[in-house]
Symmetry: C2
Subunit: 389 residues, 2 copies
């Protein structure tokens, strides 16, 4: 392996992170010889991974050349697939969507149908963005169930019939010769929210309260998937000893049976207030329906109990709450804060920030883009690509 | 900064990890030029951080020189301070204790008294190990309360009067010019157990069930301390809605109020069975006392509820259970497994291993040694030391 190639990826990372934009800064940060840095920069420039960004006139003497990461050195295709909805995008290598769309799409139509439809939309989005398929560097997909990240296969996904053990990367490899990464929808939302709004927070929990409830765990700035890719599945943590809170998982007292949108819609219907989805619950709560508001507040308390346990175990700097139900934010967050502060240790909540998702429906596609970009632009991957010519 | 120095720390890490023991292996792993590797190895050899380990005759041709990390290139001093007991050791740079001792020591005697006593014992242990104070490369201390890791200060430690905001590194700096790292006792136990027995498991929870209850969280092979160093404080997670389970923290229904050794001893005393410490509870349970055995089993169930939540959130590969109460392991682990498997998701428990601590009382000193060694032998620290001469 060529030595100048082998270190170029690390230099690119420092440039992408905004830690260096001149040769002198790279020499300072890496301790490498001037000639080595120059040689590695030349490799990056020849592949158009960096571009000149003018001169820096502020330092006196001959102004040093300033360079920047070339966010246009390719694009990524991303899909955030929910149970009944999806959002797709083409993004540049900084994770900025160049073209995007949202649509109804039933995940239970099965992988061939769903992915075929997604591929056709990808082609349209590429056209709309003014780019072309040859520029695609990677594909990122989020799905509403547990995923074995290493293989990109959903694992016993209860709400994704037909997807069990189906290889999503294998399917895309028929049409694309690029890395395909798959993760569950909450993890990609956590990555997106963290990347766009909370990058300085090393430890973050992103909680999605929609039809179901899940959590993305960011530790030391990276997503924590756990030993089987099952981390963050907080919807079935027990929050009550009440025997009537029956959950779809077969247990009683689960968080999802108290605070999931589907469970709340059913509870309202049983009270004679027709509701069928989490969006109905939110519409009623925001519209001033007292029963719905009380239910959402009680859901917030149940959520707060689980968050208190999560805070005691994990001590995050930030908790971000997203998903449909979070849009009824006042009673939900009030209930959650109430139990969270009642049951957590003062040391762990002293500086804790609790925030609503800023990206809302777009967290998933942005996170999927970031996931793929971090993978294809990791120092090892860059060095491998450069060595391969 | 000298280039050959700046990369030596990374080579040392590969050698310490057992990933390379010849020049050819280092060239293969790093992609560096042969001359660069040779130069950096010379620096490590001159400082006695690596030693020759004979030749490797198996590869044919001229046998390559084999080298190894020099575990005798210094020693570390470590102390695991509990509420009423302590354990101290001198360890080599592989974390192997060369001399150690255990003694009664009341943490509430205050920092000056406790640390003065520890320093005197360190001097005796150094003598016993046949080494000398000039060889000390670092000091590691565990304390029974939350610690702000960056400063080495205990933070509002409820059972450590007089230690609040006291700088343990500052105190040792009067006598030693070496890094001093401080962490809470459960974190160092988790590090020790992981390093010695579960290094292949990326994600591990170590639960200490003693007078109180705490948890050390290992993620991606490293301790997760959380935003304020408060991670793992699971003793005050709510496990019951019973109003009579009053905890010392002022809340009701905490895990520690059900399963902590102190709480169980009080419960037995209230039943007319005298017990004052967690060790009494264990002695009674192992001796066939039915009330004690039932109490420990119920404690196990309470622990299992918290572990189920932790497994759903964090999805560890291994849970290790240690501490005094864990020595009554059969009823405790039976109860814990019962609730854990009842309340966790099948995907997360399919390959989960639940084990007792192997190191038991020694987990803390070994973990403290590993914590310090990983710090002083990190690539950046080694490069800095070498550059300083």
């Amino acid at each position: 392996m060529n030595q100048s190639v082998s270190g170029s990826g690390s230099l690119l990372r420092l440039i992408r992170q905004g830690r260096a934009s001149t040769r002198a800064e790279l020499i300072e940060l890496t301790g490498l010889a001037r000639s080595t840095v120059a040689q590695r920069l030349e490799v990056l420039r020849a592949r158009e991974l960096i571009v000149d960004a003018g001169e820096n006139p502020s330092t006196g003497g001959r102004p040093p050349a300033v360079f920047a990461f070339n966010r246009d050195a390719g694009v990524v295709l991303v899909a955030d697939l929910g149970v009944t909805h999806c959002r797709l995008a083409v993004a540049d290598l900084a994770g900025r969507p160049l073209a995007e769309m949202a649509a109804d799409l039933a995940i239970d139509a099965g992988p061939e149908h769903v992915l075929g439809w997604v591929r056709d939309r990808f082609a349209e989005l590429i056209d709309r963005s003014g780019r072309n398929m040859a520029e695609v560097r990677g594909i990122g997909v989020g799905v509403p169930g547990p995923v074995e990240f290493a293989t990109g296969q959903a694992v016993h996904p209860p709400i994704m019939p037909g997807w069990d053990d189906f290889s999503i990367p294998g399917w895309f490899s028929r049409s694309f010769d690029v890395p395909v990464l798959v993760d569950n929808d909450v993890n990609i939302m956590a990555i997106g929210e963290h990347w766009m709004h909370w990058r300085e927070a090393a430890h973050l929990l992103f909680v999605k309260v929609g039809s179901g409830i899940g959590c993305g765990v960011i530790t030391s700035g990276a997503i924590h998937r756990g030993a089987q890719g099952a981390a963050g599945d907080i919807g079935h943590i027990q929050v009550t000893e009440r025997e009537d809170a029956i959950c779809r998982c077969g247990n009683v007292g689960c968080l999802e049976a108290m605070a999931g949108g589907t469970a709340m819609a059913r509870a309202l219907t049983n009270m004679g207030i027709p509701a069928s989805t989490s969006r109905d619950v939110v519409r009623l709560a925001r519209g001033g329906n007292r029963e719905a508001a009380m239910l959402v507040r009680e859901a917030g308390r149940a959520l707060g109990k689980v968050l208190a346990a999560a805070v005691n175990l994990f001590n995050p700097a930030v908790i971000v709450i997203g998903g449909d139900v979070a849009q009824a934010h006042e009673p939900l967050l009030a209930g959650a804060r109430e139990e969270l502060y009642r049951r957590s240790l003062p040391l762990a909540t002293r500086h804790l920030r609790i925030a609503r998702s800023e990206l809302e429906d777009r967290a998933g596609v942005i996170g999927a883009a970031v996931m793929v970009i971090e993978h294809i632009l990791s120092p090892a991957a860059v060095d491998r690509d450069l060595a391969a010519g």
